[in-house]
């Protein structure tokens, strides 16, 4: 039996960078019992523009938008099983963690953090896999 594969549209189209910047990606795809999210940069949900700021501010904006995108997919932050955090400098690790903890206070998901060069000049990018 073939597993289902379905592209998820965000409830607020402004936070969909694939549309705004014409990128070959979907913000979220459901595959079987899981939802896979693209790496999210901090986007201001009111304007759709990049919300550049400190690592803490970007992390907060990303995880807020991520919660809404997951809900559009019938999931939620509480159902996240794996997170990958990409950060421009590992020196900022604790600044990211302090905000991250607020969003995943108990039984946090499995997680990997990498210091990498990010594409759009943002400081943080976060992606996740969640139960649908």
């Amino acid at each position: 039996m073939a597993l289902s594969r379905q592209v998820i549209e965000p409830s607020n189209p402004k936070v969909d960078p694939s549309r705004k910047f014409n990128l070959p990606l979907s913000p979220a795809v459901r595959g079987g019992d899981f939802v896979f999210l693209s790496g999210m940069a901090a986007i201001d949900p009111a304007t759709g523009e990049r919300a550049r700021g400190t690592v803490a501010a970007e992390t907060r904006q990303i995880l807020t938008n991520m919660g809404e995108l997951l809900e559009a997919a019938g999931s939620s932050l509480a159902k996240v099983v794996k997170v990958n955090v990409l950060i421009y400098s590992m020196l900022e690790y604790e600044n990211m963690n302090s905000v991250y903890r607020e969003f995943f206070p108990t039984d946090p998901p499995a997680r990997t953090v990498c210091g990498v060069k990010l594409i759009g000049g943002q400081k943080v990018e976060i992606e996740c896999v969640a139960l649908a």
Binding site: V7, P24, L25, S26, G31, F36, N84, L86, C114, E127
Partner: protein, 78 residues
């Protein structure tokens, strides 16, 4: 970059099909490139192989082993 990306997608197509899946059943891609200046070059090839309802994707610039310029880590539904 273009030729490596094409070769990867051609091989990936064979690999996925032999596993009972296909390029249009991909749900998530991690694309690693050696320099973010090549982002648009990657996108041009990428679009040709996943033209509709593309998978969730994250692109990052990293050092890849053996001097390769691009590496894809892919999850697909069967």
């Amino acid at each position: 970059m273009t030729s490596e990306a094409r070769r990867i997608f051609e091989n990936l197509k064979l690999l996925l099909e032999s596993a009972g899946s296909s390029l249009d059943r991909i749900v998530q891609v991690h694309a690693m490139i050696y320099d973010r200046i090549e982002y648009d070059v990657l996108n041009r090839v990428y679009r040709q192989y996943v033209p509709n309802a593309p998978p969730a994707r994250t692109v990052m610039s990293v050092q890849i082993e053996a001097g390769f310029k691009v590496m894809l880590d892919v999850t697909a539904a069967v």
